[in-house]
Amino acid sequence: MQNITNLICLKSNISYIVFDENFSILDFSDHLENLVDESEHLMFGADIRDIMWELVGMEERMHELYENSTYELHFPMILKGNEYYDLDIELFEDSVDKYFIAYLSKKTRESLSYANTIKEMNKKTLIYESEHKQSKEEHYQLINKRVLNFNVDMDGRITLVNDAFLHFFDLGRDEILGEHFSLFFKARDLSIEDKTSMIFNALNMNSEMVAFHANIIPIQKDGVINENIIVCQDITYLREIEKELEFASEHDSLTGLCNQFILFKRVDELIKKCDKSGDSFMFCFIDVDNFKAVNDNYGHHAGDMLLKHIAEILSDFVRKDDLVARVGGDKFVLLFDMTFTKESKKIMKKRIEDLAQKSSLVYTQDDIIDFSFNIGVVSYPKDADNAADLLKKADKAMYKTKKK
């Protein structure tokens, strides 16, 4: 009879152990040693909890089962070796006594296939989540790279920094945390109390000065500000715009030459210099002769091209320390930072006149525009003692030449 039971169990992939309410093993099926946890303890009278760890801690439940308050215990999908088993424990009662029977039934191929599908799904979900997170982080990092964030305590000491901060200064976290933020940022006033924004300057790892707009966000704990988050955005581009606007306010937009404002500034500088050294300088006013005719005959574009052309040849003509300015429609000024004699003034005037004659504008293949200059030359301190008067006098001198 025992053999037949074992045969049925083997065929149905079931193993069993019979035990009493004290967990003492009373009987078990063949081949059970491969399924229990410590097979050397598998023997009649041994404590089943030594070979079936599933029953450790189940004393109360087993008692309930013994008292028939529950019908059975079921633990599905227990991994033993490489196989999965379901464990069911039932109470068996005959006319004499009550016993427990624990069945271990090996899982069918179908249920294992289901389990493997779940495994695959979990794996794929995890990979998807990880990739999704990575892509989100990369996206965040791209934005974050350009924004420096750090936290400071109420003494201005740095308590937290983001990666952009580390990258910008090319420093490690340990070199930054605990330091006062003024070690890294400069500003006119470094007090952040009661401020919502500030302008900071900082030298990056390449020793380039970068300007930041800093938002200051206070963090409150129990109604008291105990830290500030500082978010710094690079505003160097605004400085570039500022430079462009400054250049535009000081230069002629058509020719790129200095305008009257810069000319006068430079004259003031030279006056100061000459007053100290006793030197002089020459102020040369140039008017393009009959410029109106160029506009009338060739059009305004040709007129503009001619003015650009003249700006170029005059710029090429002067030395590095001299200055060329456009002070009106077809009027230019050359400022020579050097002492002149009466004779050398004449020579210079002649050279400029010759320059025009040698430099006709080739507007198109068929349109070659000749031009000439009317020139008035004055010098400091002989003819005037300030920029405006030098300009007036030079203009008058030019008219005299024109009338001749």
């Binding site: 599933e54 215990l73 599905p76």
Partner: protein, 165 residues
């Protein structure tokens, strides 16, 4: 020697199996093999023998099988420190543990702490305050082994004391 059951609870992929493997065999594998059902391991520490139930993690479409929690003397609720959704699940896991075993002590393992993370002491304190039965919150790394033995020792100390009372 005192023998009792401890169940590892948490979402799938948080490293429950890795923590058990590090603690029991002092081994670690980078390969992720999702646990199906339950695998039981035995480990002796101090004067106790722990039966560690490494159970299938909770997923959106498959909840934790409550029967596995039955008879446990304590729980380790595990979350991935870099997956916010698994940290948010901790509360639900604590409730599940206590619906099965009232007032059982729980240690929280914020695993994979070897990877860069932003969780700070305040966040950990908040997790500890989720239940009066949360004994301690640890940042663990099954990969590097950090705080792995600590969390099991802490739970054992707590359980041993309460059983001896």
């Amino acid at each position: 020697m005192l023998a009792y059951k401890v169940v590892m609870v948490g979402d799938f992929g948080v490293g429950k199996t890795s923590l058990v493997k590090r603690f029991v065999d002092n081994s670690f594998s980078e390969e992720y093999l999702s646990t199906i059902g339950v695998s039981i391991s035995k480990k002796a520490i101090n004067d106790s023998t722990l039966m560690l139930w490494d159970i299938e993690g909770h997923t959106e479409f498959k909840p934790i099988f409550k029967q596995y929690l039955s008879g446990a003397k304590g729980f380790i609720v595990v979350a991935d420190i870099n997956r916010q959704n698994t940290i948010e699940s901790i509360q639900r896991h604590i409730e599940l543990c206590h619906s099965s075993v009232k007032n059982a002590p729980i240690c929280i393992a914020l695993n994979k702490s070897d990877i860069h993370h932003t969780l700070d002491e305040n966040d950990m304190q908040k997790l500890k305050e989720l239940s009066e039965f949360v004994v301690e919150v640890y940042k663990t790394s099954a990969k590097e082994g950090s705080a792995v033995a600590d969390i099991f020792n802490e739970l054992d100390e707590h359980i041993s004391k309460s059983i001896k009372k």
